[in-house]
C-alpha cells in the first residue's frame, strides 16, 4: 500500500474513530467489551482498506464492520451477556447512523457539561470510566457501596443529559 493510501486511511480513521467506538458501545455498553471489539474492528478496517472504494461513506463502512465484529464477539462470549435482540440492534444502528449530526452536536455540549460537574462528581466519573480500577475499589475509597456508586453515576449521567438539553435550548436562535 502506498503512502498516500496510508495517509487516507489514517485521516478517515482518526476523523471517525470516536463515532465508531460510540456505535460499538451502543451494542456493548461494557467498556472492556467495547475496547476489545474496537481494537479488532480497527485491525479489520486496516486489512480491508484496499477494498474500500473512496466514493463510499467511511463511517457507514466502518460501522458495518463494527456491527459484524460485535456479532462475532457475542457468538464467542454472548452467553455471559444480556444484550438486545438482533433485529432491534439493527434498527438502533440504523437510527444511530441517521442521527449522526444530532449526536455530534450533543457531544460538543457534553464536554462543556462535564466541566460543570462538581469536583466530587468529576473525580467519580473520571475514575469510574477510566477503567483502571474496579468499581468495588472506587466505592471503597469513596466510603460507599458499589450499588450507591452506580446510582450516583446514573444521577450524574442524568444531570449531563439535562445539561445538554439546556445547552441546546440556549443555542437555538430566538
Amino acid at each position: 500500500m502506498d503512502n498516500a493510501r496510508h495517509e487516507q486511511f489514517a485521516q478517515s480513521f482518526l476523523k471517525h474513530q470516536d463515532r465508531v467506538y460510540g456505535h460499538i458501545v451502543t451494542m456493548l455498553p461494557n467498556r472492556h467489551d467495547a475496547e476489545d471489539v474496537f481494537q479488532q474492528t480497527s485491525l479489520i478496517l486496516w486489512r480491508k482498506w484496499e477494498q474500500f472504494e473512496p466514493q463510499r461513506d467511511f463511517l457507514a463502512w466502518a460501522c458495518g464492520i463494527a456491527r459484524n465484529e460485535v456479532r462475532n464477539f457475542l457468538l464467542r462470549r454472548g452467553r455471559e451477556r444480556v444484550v438486545l435482540g438482533e433485529r432491534l440492534m439493527d434498527e438502533v444502528c440504523e437510527l444511530r447512523a441517521e442521527s449522526q449530526s444530532l449526536l455530534d452536536e450533543r457531544r460538543t455540549l457534553l464536554v462543556e457539561c462535564m466541566k460543570k460537574l462538581d469536583f466530587v462528581a468529576r473525580e467519580l466519573v473520571e475514575r469510574s470510566y477510566a477503567g483502571r480500577e474496579s468499581i468495588e475499589v472506587i466505592a471503597r475509597q469513596f466510603r460507599t457501596t458499589r450499588n450507591a456508586l452506580y446510582l450516583r453515576l446514573r444521577r450524574i449521567r442524568r444531570e449531563l443529559m439535562e445539561c445538554i438539553e439546556e445547552g441546546l435550548v440556549k443555542e437555538e436562535p430566538q
Binding site: D18, L43, L102, L103, M161
Partner: protein, 612 residues
C-alpha cells in the same frame, strides 16, 4: 426545540430506568425483554436510547486517553522506539517478507500505529486546530510524519508564554513528541517527562526534546527536577529510570540527584547550578541536530580552581555549587566555578492563596466558587436542596465519604449534664459544649436534639439565585446578611446544633507546597420574621484544631453584629472543626451564619526557600 434535542423521559420513567440498567450491565433477561418492547414502541424511545448510550460512550472515550497514553508511554519508557517501518522492512530477507511471522509483525506495527494515532488525534482534536503535532514542528498531518512520533511527556504548565518561533507553539496538556522544539520569546513552560522528570524552560530560550530523559538547550534557561525512583519501586520490578541529561552547545549536564538549573548564553557558554543532589558537567561541542559531541571537537577541558588550571574530563557539582563552561580563544572549554549563580525559576505552578470553605462545603476543592449545596450534619450525606426541617441527632460522628476535604460532621446532643462529643475521625472529643461559667459559678446547660436544615453554603446574593423571596427556610428568610460577608463570598448557614470538620492534611495533599495557616471568617446571628417576638436566637460558636478549642464566642446574638473569627493554624495541624450549639434558651431562631469563611494558605518551608 433544537434539532438535536430529544424527548427526555422523567428520571423515574421505566424506559429511563431500564436504559440505565442496560448501560451499567445490570439488566436482567426479563428487564431486557421489557426494554425491547418499549424501544419497539417508537422513534422517540429509540432516540433516547441512542443518545443515552452515546453519552455513555463519550464518557468512556473522554476518560480513555489517560489509560491509552500511559500504555503508550510505558511501552516507550525504557528506550524510545521510533515507529518507522522502512528500515526494519528493508533489512528483512525476501523469504521472511510475506511469511506468517512477517504478517504478524506488520499487523502488530499497524495496530500500534493506529492506537498511537488514535490517541494523538484525540489529543490534537481536544487541544484545538492550531496545535502542531509532529516531530519537525511543521503542520503536515500525513501518516509518514505520524510514524515518527514518539511521545515522551506532556506540557504540564505554562505562564505568559510568547513564542519566538510560532511553529513551536503548543498548549498546556499537549503531548510532547520526541525531537519537538520549543522556542519561547518570554514566559515559562513546564514539560513533564513520562519518567517523572520536570523541566521548566524560561524564555527567551530554545529547547529540543531529544530523548525520553533529556533534551538540548540551545540558549536560555531551564530548571530540571528529577523524581527519585524509590528502592521499593525497583524491588517491585519497576524499570530503572534513564539518567536525565541536558545537552548544551558546550556541555553535557547529567543529573545524579534531584534538581538543577542550566543557562546557555548567546555565545553558547553554559552555567550549571545545583539546587539539590548532584550533577556531572562534561565539556563538549555540539549543536541542534547533532547526535552527540563531535569527535573532532572533543578535547580535554580545563578547570580553574584556586587560581590553578588543571585538565579534567568532567566536574561534579553539589548543592549550592555553580560552574561556567566557556570556550577560550583556542576553543578549549574551561570550567570556572561561580560564586553567584544566575536566578532560576523553580516553580511554574502558583499555589492558591486561600481556600474557600463555602466552595468545599458545596462540593468543590476550595479554589472554585460553588454555592447552594450543603451537607446534612446528622448523616454526612450531601444535600442539594435547602430544606428547613428538624433533623434529630443520633449522637454519632459521621465520616463524610464523598468529599476528601471534609472529614466528617456531627450534631452535638447533650440532653443532661456533660458528655464527650466526638469532633473528628481521629477520636478527639470535647466535653464543654454545655458548661458555662457565670459569676464564678458553673452552670450546666442542656443541648436540645438535632438541628434545622443542613450546613449550607449560601450564595452572597440570594436574589440572583432565583429563589422565591421569603421562601425556603431560615437561611433565606433572614435577608441578605451583608454585614456578615464584607467580601461578598457568601454565608455558611449553621443552625445549631451542628459541627463540621475539615481535613487539612487532605488539603495539603491536594494543594501541594502550601498549608492552611489561618482561618478567617465572620460569625453572626441571622435575624428575620419570628412567630414569637420575645424569643431571640442565642448561640455558642466554636472552633477547634485537632480537638483543641482555639476560638469560641458564647451567647452570640443578632445585636452583637459581625464578630471576626481569626485563628492561626499550625503547619502540621490535621483537623479544623467549626461548631455551633444552642446558647441560652434552647435552639429557637439560632440562625448562626459564618460569613466569608476562608483558610488562608502559606507556603511550606521548602517553598519559601525556593521563593528566596
Amino acid at each position: 426545540m433544537s434539532s438535536a434535542s430529544i424527548n427526555l423521559p422523567p428520571a423515574d420513567d421505566e424506559l429511563a430506568r431500564l436504559v440505565e440498567s442496560y448501560c451499567d450491565g445490570a439488566i436482567s433477561s426479563g428487564e431486557r425483554d421489557r426494554l425491547e418492547l418499549l424501544l419497539s414502541g417508537g422513534r422517540d424511545a429509540k432516540l433516547f436510547f441512542v443518545a443515552y448510550l452515546d453519552l455513555h460512550a463519550q464518557m468512556q472515550w473522554l476518560t480513555r486517553g489517560e489509560k491509552q497514553e500511559m500504555e503508550n508511554i510505558e511501552a516507550m519508557d525504557a528506550q524510545p522506539v521510533v515507529l518507522s517501518p522502512s528500515p526494519l522492512f528493508s533489512s528483512l530477507t525476501p523469504s521472511f517478507v510475506g511469511g506468517p511471522v512477517f504478517s504478524y509483525m506488520v499487523a502488530t506495527v499497524v495496530l500500534c500505529l493506529m492506537l498511537l494515532g488514535a490517541w494523538a488525534y484525540k489529543i490534537t482534536r481536544e487541544s484545538g486546530p492550531s496545535y502542531v503535532y509532529d516531530s519537525r514542528g511543521s503542520t503536515s498531518s500525513g501518516l509518514s510524519d505520524r510514524q515518527q512520533m514518539v511521545f515522551v511527556g506532556r506540557i504540564t504548565g505554562m505562564r505568559d508564554c510568547r513564542w519566538a518561533d510560532p511553529d513551536t507553539r503548543t498548549i498546556i496538556g499537549a503531548s510532547v513528541p520526541l525531537s519537538r522544539k520549543y522556542a519561547l520569546a518570554s514566559g515559562l513552560m513546564e514539560i513533564t517527562y513520562a519518567g517523572g522528570a520536570k523541566v521548566i524552560i524560561e524564555g527567551p530560550c530554545a529547547y529540543k526534546v531529544e530523548s525520553s530523559a533529556g533534551g538540548f538547550l540551545a540558549r536560555g534557561k531551564l530548571t530540571a527536577r528529577i523524581a527519585q525512583q524509590g528502592t521499593a519501586a525497583l524491588a517491585a520490578g519497576a524499570k530503572p529510570q534513564a539518567v536525565f541529561s541536558i545537552w548544551t552547545p558546550t556541555a553535557l549536564v547529567t543529573d545524579l540527584g534531584t534538581e538543577f538549573g542550566v543557562e546557555v548564553g548567546a555565545n553558547g557558554d553554559t552555567t550549571s547550578y545545583v539546587f539539590e543532589g548532584k550533577v556531572v558537567v562534561k565539556a563538549g561541542i555540539r549543536g541542534f541536530g547533532d547526535s552527540g559531541i563531535r569527535e573532532s571537537e572533543k578535547r580535554p577541558a580545563t578547570a580553574v580552581a584556586g587560581g590553578a588550571a588543571v585538565d579534567v574530563d568532567e566536574i561534579q557539582l553539589g548543592p549550592g555549587e555553580a560552574v561556567l563552561v566557556k570556550r577560550d580563544e583556542a576553543n578549549t572549554p574551561r570550567f570556572t566555578r561561580l560564586a553567584t549563580p544566575p536566578k532560576f525559576v523553580r516553580r511554574i505552578y502558583e499555589p492558591p492563596k486561600q481556600l474557600d470553605l463555602l466552595d468545599i462545603v458545596a462540593g468543590g476543592n476550595g479554589t472554585g466558587n460553588r454555592r447552594e449545596r450543603g451537607i446534612d450534619a446528622t448523616t454526612g450525606m450531601e444535600d442539594t436542596f435547602f430544606i428547613d426541617d428538624t433533623r434529630p441527632s443520633d449522637k454519632q460522628y459521621h465520616q463524610v465519604s464523598w468529599h476528601r476535604l471534609i472529614d466528617g460532621v456531627f450534631s452535638p446532643y447533650v440532653p443532661v449534664g456533660e458528655r464527650d462529643v466526638q469532633l473528628d475521625s481521629a477520636g478527639h472529643t470535647f466535653r464543654g459544649f454545655t458548661v458555662h461559667w457565670e459569676d464564678g459559678s458553673k452552670i450546666i446547660r442542656t443541648l436540645t436534639n438535632g438541628m434545622r436544615g443542613p450546613i449550607w453554603a449560601r450564595a452572597a446574593d440570594i436574589a440572583s439565585d432565583g429563589r422565591p423571596a421569603g421562601g425556603n427556610g431560615w437561611l433565606y428568610v433572614m435577608g441578605n446578611g451583608d454585614q456578615y460577608m464584607p467580601q461578598r463570598r457568601g454565608l455558611l448557614g449553621f443552625h445549631v446544633n451542628a459541627g463540621i470538620t475539615f481535613d487539612m492534611e487532605a488539603m495539603r495533599i491536594l494543594h501541594e507546597n502550601v498549608y492552611p495557616a489561618r482561618l478567617k471568617a465572620v460569625a453572626g446571628m441571622g435575624e428575620g420574621p419570628r412567630k414569637y417576638e420575645d424569643v431571640f436566637g442565642v448561640a455558642d460558636v466554636w472552633v477547634f484544631v485537632d480537638g483543641e478549642l482555639v476560638w469560641k464566642r458564647r451567647d452570640l446574638r443578632h445585636r452583637d453584629g459581625a464578630v471576626p473569627v481569626d485563628v492561626e493554624i499550625a503547619p502540621d495541624a490535621r483537623f479544623l472543626t467549626l461548631a455551633a450549639t444552642g446558647g441560652k434558651g434552647g435552639q429557637a431562631y439560632d440562625w448562626v451564619v459564618i460569613g466569608d469563611p476562608v483558610l488562608e494558605l502559606a507556603l511550606t518551608e521548602t517553598e519559601n526557600r525556593k521563593e528566596d
